[in-house]
């Protein structure tokens, strides 16, 4: 905007925004995150807008589309402020009633309330829902409250106050010292202290330094970076501004997956708004500090989450990792000192500068401070984004916040850390969730995916799945990873098909060690982890596949048979209709039969059956 926009102007602007707001005025907040959008929340918002007009209550209520509040399972989500009435599974056809009842008459639409799966009771307010009540939301606090497309909304929640404070009252060294004192560990998975990297980068003599936000969230089952960027993009920009100030960088890159179109849109829009206001560009807040940010899209390569591969990709080359040293802090983008941090690490910085290192140290445990965000997914009742203090127990996380496993099934394990992580069995659920404990158990924190698996999940199949992933994603540079992971996949695949032999398990373990030693980057070094942890904790399942040619969980196609339970089958013909190979026969109204010799064990019949008549034998 203007070159004379100062910190004082920023505060004046903030006061003006706040003075124009009426906190007691009802505001309907509809989630516009990717999860809810997939469930057509855009149509809900549109219908609400129309209903507000039709019923002539424009002056009485405000409508806002927000980022992801995290409880995607219950979407589309809608919260009516200021009471925070929490409506779930909202459809466009509910809009009229929400306006006429809740807004006009002050009544609750009972059927849209959330039902606690444990107590069976309806819950009225958002903050009373166990999923939210048990969380410590700091990074996610404003997702679901602010409109990510409006910088005014971020300013209204004290946005850009930290950078204003830093530029006015702190030296770059003091900013770095504060982050160091907080002992903020990198949220990308390995937990390396952020300030140490910053210091390294700062110390290298150079005319140009770069900083990078790694938003290449490729771990399948993790979406917290997407959640933050979609819900609160300015918080990332502010974190990067602070980092740039501390390190003396003038240019930043946000490397984000092209698979996240909405997040890309939000972050690009935020950058334009910040530039317009003089918070990015030359002479920020009329000081000597200049910094700008560019967005670079990933093109679908998991290995680009590795820092040296990511840098190569930003430079427009194929994303192959290289040997370190030199570390990016010494020689990164175009040979210049470069610092890379994860999205969540950047998002923490403004909070630490505003509230101080001591405040940060008060959350979590001593070595693992602050909160961490998990995407709790898989076979669990409450799926979504969960922010909890480090050190909370897995059991608490899954049972209290996740609400346990659906359909009364028995929980078997959780998988953390994506393809680099491992499976942790139910008997170890009292383990505290932090970088060090998870590492000890053979897994890693990773970027925070937490996939819950129940008794119907075959652990050998899970290992096979991750090997398939890593085999596909290996960039091919190191033969240990390229060939070794492929061989491991073949062995595990053979086991799942009933061709396993004695000695396979030991061979897998040996191969795993060789791959770990012989690979340059994290992808290869950690690719064997899912196999090693499943062997360590679920060896008996491997043995059942190898010795008895059985899949105890009833997943591996070659080792199972489908059968229709005569007593349960009313003869609705649905399974016969969907069977791709016409293996099911029977008259309408009479129990059907599956011809084992034709059946390809695709499981469609079980999927479509409404009477639980199809079982695995």
């Amino acid at each position: 905007m203007t070159e004379t926009f100062t910190a004082v102007d920023l505060e004046t602007r903030r006061k003006k925004i706040l003075s124009e707001r009426d906190e007691s005025k009802p505001c309907i907040m509809v989630c516009g995150g990717t999860g809810c959008l997939a469930l057509e929340s855009d149509l809900v918002a549109e219908a609400l807008r129309k209903a507000i007009q039709d019923q002539g209550v424009d002056a009485k209520v405000e409508l806002k589309t927000t980022g992801c509040p995290g409880f995607c399972e219950q979407g589309p989500l809608l919260v009516v402020h200021p009471e925070k009435i929490f409506y779930t599974h909202v459809k466009a056809k509910d809009a009229k009633e929400i306006i006429s009842e809740t807004i006009v008459n002050g009544k609750i639409v009972e059927r849209l309330l959330y039902t606690d799966p444990i107590t069976g009771k309806k819950i009225l307010h958002e903050n009373e829902v166990p999923f939210y009540k048990e969380q410590t939301r700091i990074l996610l606090k404003n997702s679901g409250i602010i409109d990510p497309e409006k910088i005014e909304d971020y300013l209204a929640v004290d946005g850009y106050k930290a950078i204003s404070k830093a530029l006015l009252e702190m030296t770059p060294e003091q900013v770095l010292e504060e982050v160091k004192k907080a002992n903020l560990r990198g949220r990308g998975g390995a937990g390396f202290p952020a300030a140490i990297k910053w210091e390294l980068c700062r110390k290298v003599e150079s005319d140009q330094r770069y900083i990078v936000c790694n938003a290449d969230e490729g771990d399948p089952g993790a979406f917290q970076d997407r959640g933050i960027i979609e819900g609160n993009p300015h918080s990332i920009l502010e974190g990067m501004l602070l980092g740039a100030y501390a390190m003396g960088a003038s240019k930043g890159y946000i490397y984000i997956r092209h698979e996240y179109p909405l997040a890309v849109k939000m972050i690009k829009k935020a950058i334009v708004q910040a530039r317009d206001l003089g918070l990015l560009g030359d002479n920020i807040l009329s000081t000597d500090f200049s910094f700008d940010i560019e967005v670079q899209l990933g093109a679908g390569a998991f290995v680009c989450g590795e820092e040296t591969a990511l840098l190569a990709s930003i430079e427009g080359r194929v994303g192959e990792p290289r040997t370190r040293p030199p570390y990016p802090a010494e020689s990164g983008l175009w040979g210049k000192p470069t610092n890379i941090n994860n999205t969540k690490t950047w998002a923490w910085v403004p909070h630490i500068i505003t509230n101080g290192a001591d405040w940060f140290a008060g959350i979590g445990n001593d070595k693992n401070r602050g909160t961490t965000i998990f995407s709790v997914v898989g076979k669990v009742n409450n799926t979504g984004l969960v922010e909890v203090p480090m050190g909370i127990s897995l059991r608490h996380l899954i049972e209290h916040i996740g609400g346990g496993v659906p359909k009364g099934k028995k929980i078997k394990a959780v998988q953390t850390g994506g393809p680099s992580g491992g499976c942790i069995p139910e008997r170890l659920f009292d383990l505290s969730v932090d970088y060090d404990s998870l590492k000890e158990a053979g897994s890693i924190m990773g970027s925070g995916g937490l996939i819950v698996m129940d008794e119907d999940t075959c652990m050998v199949d899970v290992a096979r799945y991750f090997l398939d992933f890593c085999k596909f994603e290996s960039c091919g540079k190191c033969s240990a990873c390229r060939e070794g992971v492929r061989r491991m996949y073949e062995i595990v695949d053979y086991i799942t098909r009933g061709y396993g032999e004695e000695g396979d398990i030991e061979f897998l373990e040996e191969l795993a060690q060789s791959i770990k030693i012989g690979s340059l980057c994290g992808l290869g070094q950690t690719a064997p982890n899912p196999v090693l942890t499943t062997i360590r904790y679920f060896r008996e399942e491997y043995e059942a596949h190898i010795r008895d040619k059985q899949c105890p969980a009833g997943v591996c196609k070659s080792l199972i048979l489908f059968e229709i339970v005569v007593d349960n089958c009313p003869g609705c013909t649905l399974c016969a209709k969907y069977c791709p190979v016409e293996a099911i026969s029977g008259e309408k109204g009479k129990p059907h039969v599956i011809d084992e010799s034709i059946c390809i064990r695709c499981g469609v019949c079980r999927d479509v059956c409404n009477f639980n008549a199809v079982v695995v034998r």
């Binding site: 990717t34 979407g75 399948p220 993790a222 996939i451 799945y465 992933f469 969907y578 791709p580 479509v608």
Partner: protein, 160 residues
């Protein structure tokens, strides 16, 4: 297919004429044509001063790029872990049954291409599919055909 090169020129102008812009410009070309036509790549090579061999290297390395023409509609099945444990494999098989294409293949009439993606980040509502960037959450085998038909019917209406 006649190729409107002017769009490619606009893309190059938007992303800048240095090597750094290569992947970004290729993404934009892919978005425009659903694949990377050779004419467009030649133009990129010339304007960005990057040899064709480097462009093919990048095209082959990153999964999003396709050197073959793809369908008008791109159906994507997410095979992220959360979708996998909720049965996304069955969705792939069901698309195969309806359209007779496996992942990576395109129907003969160039209407549909089936793809798999490692994670779309909508894990909470898995299994997830997308058609042309529209997301379909909580999918099941029985919903696949209905979803595909929506796109077939659209074409019929458009052609009338």
């Amino acid at each position: 297919m006649t190729l409107d090169i002017t769009n490619v020129e606009t893309i190059i102008d938007r992303h800048g004429k240095d090597e750094k812009a290569l992947i970004q410009a290729m993404l934009a070309v892919q978005e425009e044509f659903h694949y990377l036509p050779e004419e467009a790549l030649k133009l990129l090579s010339e304007k960005l001063s990057v040899p064709m061999i480097r462009i093919y290297q990048v095209a082959a390395f990153y999964k999003v790029f396709s050197l073959d023409p793809r369908g008008k509609h791109i159906i994507t099945v997410c095979k992220g872990t959360a979708c996998h444990v909720r049965g996304s494999n069955m969705l792939v098989d069901q698309v195969d049954r309806v359209l007779k294409i496996r992942p990576g293949e395109t129907t003969q009439d160039l209407e549909f291409t089936l793809e798999e993606v490692n994670c779309l980040g909508c894990c909470a509502i898995g299994p997830v599919m997308t058609v042309d960037n529209k997301y379909y959450g909580n999918m099941s085998v029985s919903k696949v055909e209905r979803m595909i038909n929506k796109y077939i019917e659209k074409e019929v209406v458009a052609n009338d």
